[in-house]
């Protein structure tokens, strides 16, 4: 087994763990962490592809590395936005679990504009 295959399998494992966590945990912060683990798996895969795609004499293909830096920045902003929303949710309701019930049917419900 080459090191690239090993890292690829680890990436796949992280993706699986992240997806599992996202589906199973109702707590918002756990979901956000699971998303980051999932993202970490994908970024690791980019590293593997950079390594494998390298031509003779070059240590690594630079394109996936450029992509992965952009990906990390995007994932960072996504996490920041999600955490900000979760914090506001806790401030408003006092709990951080996402209710996965039916959307409000709203008989006693104030209409939004």
């Amino acid at each position: 087994m080459t090191s690239a295959t090993l890292y690829g399998l680890m990436g796949a494992g992280l993706v699986g763990l992240g997806l599992y966590g996202l589906v199973v945990h109702p707590h918002a912060l756990r979901k956000i962490l699971a998303f980051n683990i999932l993202g970490g798996g994908v970024f690791l895969l980019f590293g593997v592809i950079a390594r494998r795609g390298a031509s003779a004499g070059v240590g690594g293909d630079p394109v996936p590395q450029a992509l992965v830096i952009t990906g990390i920045v995007v994932a960072f902003s996504a996490t920041a936005l999600a955490v900000a929303l979760a914090v506001r949710l806790v401030e408003e309701t006092g709990r951080a679990a996402l209710p996965f019930d039916d959307p409000p049917t709203g008989r006693a419900h104030r209409a939004e504009l």
Binding site: F35, G41, V42, I49, G53, V63, V74, A78, L89, E92
Partner: protein, 503 residues
């Protein structure tokens, strides 16, 4: 790859809104609204110019950024469907801006800067720019960034009023969207590993049916389906679209879900047309059919008008996916494939106009009544005749009553399904139309009943707001009179058609 001089138009389409976002943030306060007002006509002009260019040259418009040709560089490309979606976006955005001015006006006397208006105008421009970037993107990674920008603009729009309910809806929307885009990114990584490029045109030339490509296609499709809210991944859509402020609901339901649908079309018919075998296409259309039936039934059962319209979006998204088995393997039945393609894209365009008009009409009704319970709508027809008429007209488009745009779209899908020998989809189209009729008439019937006492609007509704909503609803009906089929503009730049077929 031939670059046209008019390729600069594609740069304007993406850069104008970005400049608007920066100007709004720099100038702040009341300027954000003015920047949006100034940029919208410019954006409309750019979209019109792009469509005129694509139509007159009968070729996709191409711009190679920095003259670095792919695979080293990145290119922008607008084919027929990109140009049509750019123009639809510009028109809906212009109407939304005119509509939203009353809701997000910064008071002249009060504090110099209010948070909600500044956020709204900046985010609206951001969503507009991201949509344009999705429509002209020609590189799978660039498209990923555009999709994420779209999410970052759309999610805060949902929770603009900061209530607990909309915060939960926004967070759920964000989580669905993030999983969707990270799965898309995973697929893009696999494609780069297999082919060494992410350029759509280059990929379409060298794609092969191997395991890596199939896994990548599956991951990207599932991710994009979560963002498009196709049944059964629609759970986030109703609370998010119904809870958002009216103007934001209109943009989210009309345009934002179409962006990820557009990418699915790009992926299957642009990047890998040969890989879309009938069993896979039948699964996509089967999900679409379930969405039509499930969404319509739930829409009929809703008591709140905005939730009813949101579930109607879940159903109407289903129609878009009926085009996949009918367009696939174009070489065997080019006529039906062309008809289904026009039908699918026309459904996206006419639903965009009709749903935006419908959400804004519902918003005006809620403004006048102070609530949006369907059972208590008696007398609205007399108090707001123009708004109710606009609601009815957009309902006609959603149902598919002639001569509306929705009728032509559904008619083309129906005839194509019979031509391709897949009659079962025509049953779904007809049943969906009847279900839509039920929920639209349920609302309209309530609005024209006589109330027990004379209805006095609790908030006066400005006449010009009713007028812009009506104009958009009329446009959604008039779309049916535009001969898209004979113009052939939607077919320009298709990869999956045998060459020379449209000449």
């Amino acid at each position: 790859m031939i670059e046209q001089p008019a390729g600069y138009l594609l740069v304007f389409a993406t850069v104008l809104p970005a400049v608007g976002v920066m100007l709004s943030l720099a100038l702040g306060g009341r300027w954000a609204e003015r920047v949006a007002l100034l940029l919208m006509p410019a954006g409309l002009a750019v979209a019109l110019a792009i469509l005129a260019c694509v139509w007159s040259t009968r070729r996709p418009l191409l711009y190679v950024v920095g003259a670095w040709a792919p695979p080293l560089g990145v290119s922008l490309r607008a084919d027929g469907i990109s140009a049509a979606m750019l123009l639809t976006t510009a028109i809906v955005m212009c109407v939304v801006v005119l509509f939203a001015r009353a809701d997000f006006r910064t008071a002249r006397s009060g504090p110099r800067e209010a948070r909600a208006p500044l956020a709204f105008w900046t985010l609206l421009l951001g969503v507009w720019g991201a949509l344009n970037a999705v429509f002209v993107g020609n590189d799978l990674f660039n498209l990923y960034v555009a999709l994420e920008l779209l999410t970052f603009g759309a999610v805060p729009l949902v929770s603009l009023d900061g209530r607990a309910e909309t915060l939960a809806a926004a967070l759920r929307y964000l989580l669905f969207a993030l999983v969707g885009s990270v799965l898309y990114l995973l697929g893009a990584a696999l494609l780069y590993g297999a082919y060494g490029t992410l350029d759509v045109v280059l990929l379409s030339g060298q794609i092969r049916a191997d395991t890596a490509t199939e896994v990548a296609a599956a991951l990207m499709t599932v991710g994009l389906l979560a963002k498009t809210a196709l049944f059964p991944l629609h759970l986030w859509l109703p609370p998010a679209h119904a809870g958002a402020p009216t103007a934001a609901s209109a943009v989210l339901s009309a345009l934002v879900v179409k962006a990820s649908f557009f990418l699915i079309v790009r992926l299957w018919f642009g990047v890998m047309p040969a890989l879309l075998v009938q069993p896979a296409a039948q699964v996509l259309a089967g999900l679409g059919a379930s969405a039509i039936l499930f969404g319509s039934v739930l829409a009929i059962r809703q008591d709140r008008l905005k939730l009813l319209i949101a579930y109607s979006t879940v159903a109407q998204i289903g129609y878009l996916f009926l085009m996949f088995p009918l367009v696939a393997s174009a070489a065997s039945a080019p006529g039906a494939s062309i008809a289904a393609w026009t039908g699918g894209m026309l459904q996206a365009i006419s639903h965009a106009c009709a749903k935006a008009a419908m959400f804004m009409a519902a918003g005006l009704i809620a403004l006048a009544l102070g609530h949006d319970r369907v059972s208590d709508l008696a007398g609205v027809g007399r108090a707001l005749p123009m708004t109710v008429f606009a609601f009815g007209l957009s309902g006609l488009t959603l149902m598919g009553v002639p001569p509306s745009g929705g009728f032509i779209a559904k008619w083309l899908l129906l005839t194509a399904s019979i031509d391709r020998g897949q009659w079962w989809w025509s049953l779904v189209v007809v049943a969906g139309g009847m279900f839509t009729g039920v929920y639209v008439f349920r609302v309209l019937a309530r609005t024209v009943t006589r109330p027990s006492e004379r209805l006095v609007p609790c908030t006066p509704v400005a006449r010009h707001r009713e007028a812009v909503v009506l104009a958009l609803a009329v446009l959604s009906v008039l779309l049916g009179l535009v001969p898209f089929g004979s113009f052939g503009v939607l077919q320009i730049g298709r990869f999956d058609l045998p060459p020379g077929l449209l000449r």
